[in-house]
Symmetry: C2
Subunit: 451 residues, 2 copies
């Protein structure tokens, strides 16, 4: 009955999604489109029977806080109404903010990341009320407008609404997708991340390289410091860092063993010869999800123009990101890095960060919301989803969920070729409609679950 | 008698030097000033009684080949009439090409490097003839016009004049100076140099750093390769390279022990904390003169702008120079580098060079020309010169001298504050006149020496 209702109203839901995708709510640009999107999202909430308040954020776009339904179960839903910039524009087949359906696929910037999910989750609340007369649980939608620029104010929002968040018993996180075999994927965590800059300075000025055997050289110094951070097989050597890595449980390792992973296909697609340490299969998945990483993002020093310049550079810098798994935190890792450099004789190499970093987030696979989502997906799609204990990427899940004890799971309406952040972003219309059916089941089942 | 003649004509010699310094013969700019300088140098030769021929050089300014005097002893003299660019112009007290004497010091671009020496050596030939009636030996002046851009055609010139060069029994090389205590310094060699570029490429495109634990990273790869080249104390680790380093003889080590070297003063001036490996004294001098160096001149890869970018860079490059001592050659070192990288598992890291490099050059301290120059300096200056078995820098001495078995010694009219290549380059007029007296003695004594 629910599914038939959704099918009968599919055109309306698609029209809502198209309307929202017409708004060029590019977070990096700010401007009136962001405010237009916030107002439209609030209107979509109200159309779905969800009370909506625009919560002003100092220095950022408002959070649309939607609330509907009675208790006792309380479910949090996190989405964002901002999008990535659409460049390069000339690679779009239809314009990024002129949503266009071709062969059952809806193309528009933000349709997969993350407006399709936002609209589906509101549509499911509306359909549920229309079919069953009332919502079976308390829904709280946190719909922010600056996820694509790193959610700089989400932590502040969460702290200001801590009492509300502490009552939440599960969270449906931002997004999810189907893989190449059309099997849905859900994930239970995200890595944290700390971005740092290392700077070496070895003299007041550059010097003639005739003295290269005696004078310190900032690039050598930086290279030597970096070489103490990681071995060529990707194993992290920063003193004490691995002591804080929570090993995967047997249940989590069993989840890994069930996941598909075609390392050779990834390597072919990227044009790489092999993975660090020759990893494949479960050990590769374990590193992706359960191990921290240290990546040099950029390095610069001395003369890099045409020809040669026989100079000893006196300064050099490297930028790195360090992906964090529980129980690493950005502050902890900054301290470990400083201690490591001092202990290894590199106290002169400065390490600094200009950002707070992100905490890692991971949900217990036994949390009620996990089983509810997995069962809903299996029922609607006719195939059990792959459950990823974590993503390899990072996001602001901890600030909104784990910090308040809320188990969170990512699921959504994307497909294997959604091309988030790239030209010709898309969702399949059928997946979008199925996503509404999934969410209706999640609302119904979570209402009955025992926490 | 010779000295009195030189003193009586000092104003003429200074006028010649000023005339030559007025010509802005900047090799890096080419243009008519270079040809003007070549013609003026040929005229100065003829005024000194030296036959001068402008030897055309395909793709470069002519070499002025000056010849005078009978045999049997044959002495080669190497100088250049081109100069460095004068930037930064606003730091010059008087304009770089308006030679100006202040407090007995002649300021002009090129006056120390190398026109003062060129003019003094011609003036000495003229004075010798005027005082003694004829030159006592055969003098051959090789005066080139592109030393400041790396003497790209000197090797070709030398090959074309190999028969002439093979008859030479000694060479007075380009330049020399007095130290802070006004003690003359001479040197018997130069290091060679090989400039190389290392390039790492690890994938077709940059990738998201979420995969940083698995995907190869060009900057990590380059850093890892570089860290196999040198230990933090400056010791070279390139496989087999040190096997080709000729150890200093006992006589050369004894020369080192006689040389002054205030490591602390150098460190203060440069703003550095200490030398690599904590070297000071003779071990520091040994490294400067008798050991090869590996210097990273520049490094570049990935994102180095403001903020952070979570990227795995797929390409990175580093530029290095390797200073060579006998019996290392640029070709040999290229081969060793390639073999080293392949043996250490870095066959994917490309190493290339766009230049031929320079061979190292070193003169036997027992060569006749060494004793002749040392004695002439001691007599004129009243103080024994410091004899450096080699400079730490590089130059084209091998191509012109050692390749044809010619022992070469550097000496000249500079002082401790000549500021070669920098604004307010200068020589003291008295040093210039003394340099003429030194060269007159060198011509006379070398004519009588037993080879």
């Amino acid at each position: 009955m629910f599914d038939a209702h959704v099918d009968a109203h599919a055109a309306e839901y698609v029209a809502q999604l198209i309307e929202l995708c017409r708004v060029p709510s590019i977070a990096a640009e700010g401007g009136p489109a962001i405010a237009d999107a916030a107002n439209l999202v609030a209107a979509l909430c109200r159309a779905a029977g969800v009370d909506a308040a625009l919560i002003p954020i100092a220095g950022g776009p408002p959070v649309v806080l939607g609330q509907a339904g009675p208790g006792p179960r309380r479910l949090l839903i996190y989405n964002h109404y901002d999008v990535q910039p659409p460049d390069p524009l000339d690679e779009w087949i239809s314009p990024p903010f002129a949503p266009t359906i071709r062969d059952g696929i809806l193309f528009a910037r933000g349709v997969a990341d993350n407006k399709g999910n936002l609209v589906a989750r509101l549509a499911a609340a509306r359909a549920y009320r229309e079919v069953f007369g009332a919502l079976p649980l308390r829904l709280t939608y946190v719909l922010e407008g600056e996820e694509e620029v790193g959610s700089p104010h989400l932590d502040g929002f969460a702290r200001a609404h801590a009492d509300l968040l502490r009552t939440m018993e599960g969270c449906i996180w931002e997004a999810g997708y189907k893989d190449e075999e059309d099997r849905p994927a859900v994930s239970l965590g995200l890595k944290g991340v700390l971005a740092v800059e290392l700077r070496a300075r070895t003299a007041d000025t550059d010097a003639h390289s005739a003295s290269g055997g005696l004078y310190p050289n900032a690039i050598w110094r930086l290279t030597e410091a970096l070489s103490t951070f990681r071995s060529p097989d990707g194993a992290i050597l920063i003193d004490g860092l691995l002591d804080h890595v929570r090993p995967p449980t047997d249940a989590e390792m069993a989840m890994l063993a069930r996941l598909p992973y075609d390392a050779a296909a990834v390597q072919r697609r990227m044009g790489i010869r092999g993975f660090l340490g020759g990893l494949t299969g479960v050990p590769a998945l374990r590193r992706l999800m359960f191990e921290p990483t240290v990546t040099i993002n950029g390095i610069l020093g001395g003369y890099t123009g045409p020809g040669s310049k026989t100079v000893i550079p006196c300064q050099a810098l490297a930028k790195l990101d360090i992906r964090l798994v529980p129980d690493l935190t950005p502050d902890l890792v900054m301290g470990l890095l400083r201690d490591h450099l001092a202990r290894r004789g590199f106290a002169d190499v400065q390490v600094m960060t200009s950002e707070d970093g992100l905490m890692p987030a991971r949900t217990d696979p036994n949390a009620a919301i996990v089983a509810v989502v997995v069962e809903a997906l299996a029922e609607v799609h006719g195939i059990a989803p792959n459950v990823y204990p974590s993503m390899a990427g990072s996001g602001p899940m901890y600030q909104l969920c784990q910090a308040y004890g809320i188990p969170a799971i990512s699921t959504g309406v994307g497909w294997a070729h959604s091309r988030n952040h790239a030209p010709n972003e898309s969702v399949r219309v059928a997946d979008f409609i199925q996503g509404i059916k999934v969410m209706g089941r999640v609302y119904g089942a979570f209402a009955k679950s025992v926490i």
